[in-house]
Point group: C3
Chain length 357, copies 3
Amino acid sequence: MAFTLEDIAGRFGGEVIGDPTQRVGSLAPLDQAGPQQLAFLANPKYLSQVETTRAGAVLISPDDLEKLASREARNFIVTPNPYAYFARVAQAFIDLAAPKVQPGVHPSAHVDATAKVAASAVIGPNVTVEAGATIGEHVRLDANVFIGRGTQVGEGSHFYPGVTVYHGCKIGARAIVHAGAVIGSDGFGFAPDFKGDGDARTGSWVKIPQVGGVSIGTDVEIGANTTIDRGAMADTIIEECVKIDNLVQIGHNCKVGAYTVIAGCAGIAGSTTIGRHCMIGGAVGVAGHVTLGDYVIVTAKSGVSKSLPKAGIYTSAFPAVDHADWNKSAALLRNIDKLRDRIRALEAAAQKVQGDA
Amino acid sequence: MAFTLEDIAGRFGGEVIGDPTQRVGSLAPLDQAGPQQLAFLANPKYLSQVETTRAGAVLISPDDLEKLASREARNFIVTPNPYAYFARVAQAFIDLAAPKVQPGVHPSAHVDATAKVAASAVIGPNVTVEAGATIGEHVRLDANVFIGRGTQVGEGSHFYPGVTVYHGCKIGARAIVHAGAVIGSDGFGFAPDFKGDGDARTGSWVKIPQVGGVSIGTDVEIGANTTIDRGAMADTIIEECVKIDNLVQIGHNCKVGAYTVIAGCAGIAGSTTIGRHCMIGGAVGVAGHVTLGDYVIVTAKSGVSKSLPKAGIYTSAFPAVDHADWNKSAALLRNIDKLRDRIRALEAAAQKVQGDA
Amino acid sequence: MAFTLEDIAGRFGGEVIGDPTQRVGSLAPLDQAGPQQLAFLANPKYLSQVETTRAGAVLISPDDLEKLASREARNFIVTPNPYAYFARVAQAFIDLAAPKVQPGVHPSAHVDATAKVAASAVIGPNVTVEAGATIGEHVRLDANVFIGRGTQVGEGSHFYPGVTVYHGCKIGARAIVHAGAVIGSDGFGFAPDFKGDGDARTGSWVKIPQVGGVSIGTDVEIGANTTIDRGAMADTIIEECVKIDNLVQIGHNCKVGAYTVIAGCAGIAGSTTIGRHCMIGGAVGVAGHVTLGDYVIVTAKSGVSKSLPKAGIYTSAFPAVDHADWNKSAALLRNIDKLRDRIRALEAAAQKVQGDA
């Protein structure tokens, strides 16, 4: 399969410069692309590669095009965002090349008689769909997926193998949920019911029933083995176009605002609200019951223990340095109050000297 | 379904004040509850809501009841721990409302002929129960659960979809294990068998067989995608009423004492002992081969590298602040020895001035 | 089953001292072993236990043997690395004792007609093997394992229940992959395609298709619920004999060098290269696009944000201390620039005093 630049611009927009009948069949980096391939320039520091590339055409922004010494003998599609354009074209090529999957329910799947499964859905081997669940058009549930009773899966969603969604959750259209992710597990809540102290303590933890659900907007992606707990009374909410990486934990009754991205190994404790368009770095921890405003960025490995209402970049992580040096600094930090006291003593002495003088 | 206050107090204890024939059918927060609902006051700061609530009755402690301006025209169940009481009643309402699941083994489940499954157990679709395993009364194993050979599951336990328990483990009564949790995977142990250094190094890591199991007490809850490794020689031990959140890792030969709670994303390295009634915060890391005493609290994101035998609260995490401010502080910390040296120099100079004076 | 010391040395090497016809049938620690058991001395501090053990024989290094007061009435196998020797013998005893599993495909497994499954492989219940996949000799796929189209699994590998490997991945010989691990999920990559700022922002994240795979060398072990993402264009690479613990996240296009070990809860962001023979501690985070040289050790809970080309030990983690003490130090650190300013002021004053003097 190969498409003319004219065809591509017709579908994805942009202006063709050069030969609109040039055909390309796949994508490649500037320095590796051949005459049947489409390359892209997303970072102006690779501008010189545009001059030397063998690519059949280059996706380029109007600004970068201006900077080129020569456009001779080259083809371009000019677009304000070559990287996003590349991503869309790449996805289209992949969809065309992917093996066609027939709609229907695999004979080994267990679909309750009261569940509604759209005719265009693909239900894989050993999938379980419980009573009252709704599976939208063109949904794809891979092997071993579990959909609990009453849960709704929006159209065009793709759940990879082994995803579990508990009962009473709502997943919006076009969700991508990677293997092993768990949505709707019980929030972590227990009432202490103890008497006495120390060795004489008796009693127990009493489980707080978690009767809320999880409500997920459209166009959300959730990474492998990520967990999102159901709410205690109201729902845990993930708004539209949130992107969550692997091994992320989101506690009960959190609300994550639209377009926010959360990198791998991050953990958000219960009842916390994250604004829209936030970026939560890898392995970040956010305490419970706090609020992050829109456009808050938290850098990797940092911990957030208080609300951060204002947009900005926040950090509390140190970079690793030589172990012995670190230990020296750490020991001095542990005794930093003594350094402060020594400064105070010096200040008092200086004061006295001044007084004496 | 609705119950009189008299019925509820008969089953869960407490003293009814007001109309014992008042009926309630569900639970709700004070500010949202209607006349058929039961509300609770767990935190005295919401006392004023008790005066204005429309709830059919309020769970309240004797102390808080004393503080009320008026009890007129209101119904109460007085109990020392309204929050725990609420949790118990809520669970009872949920159990009544839940669809009844018929005992029995789903036709798609694979139960070895030598496994013992109680008649009251519910074995879901695609479950595997291997040779010699024992499944107690009223156990519920959801879809895709795997129980290895010889493993015992105590009565009343509920394993959500996709839980894997390896061979030779013991799970006590009334366990709740959430989707994707793995119990009994191999501990991480390898003997180095290398010769030479640098590029000339040859040899390999030799796997240490992990022949212990995992032994879990009664009333334990384990979160989604949490992992608990089997012991190398002896068992990894989780005592009764331990509550573990999602995405927690517990290494081989750890022992976690009764009533301890461990929040999400925490990791406990191998051969570490955690005392009873401890609280391990989210994303805490505890090194291997250390011991935490009873009633130790470690705050979220902290790291424990040495034993903490004494009850107390321990911390090593910083809260995120403005990125530029943080970087300035971090740079000064990296050079804190220079600050110390400058203080020393000042002290020496001051000494000299004093000596001269 | 029991074997003579002569048999064991014949198979695993080492020199027998004492009675070569002594039989042992299992392994045990020095202080617990009986006359039919083999014990080992890996750490010279337990040398005195060798004098008193009841073990049928002791694995010992030549150096430690020299240190013994007496070898009388004892049997030894002398080997340079008793711990690795112990591990190998223990594994052999376990393999002998393990129930024999019959090769073949379980009737409930779904193996595509175009997949190649070796006759000696064991394919468990509810396993899915998609089109074009290759399963090598003596491979064991436990219940609910999913192998995507075109993926290759090398000979002698063992995948525990619920492992998911996406399409187009290569797993080398003798891999051990623990339950719930996910290999080949999409890397976390999105092109921003937004216009405007603040509340007026419009647009979306555009998914970058992830068309690379995951390529894993021989003798790799991967822990429970660990996730390894597929590459964006080229493969994510794990070289031979890498050992990865539970709940580890490895981003797209990472390369992990041979013999490196990665402890639990660590996260490696995308496009990062880790050298050979590295040791990455528990809960370590490594940023994307950095390079760690060979023999780099990062201690538990540390964060790596820049390349560390040189072998060495690197740290950025603090040990937890008393909460109130920590808060005091943390407050002073937050204001460490003020301490620096006070030192500067003192220095200026001292300079002035000296000038005056």
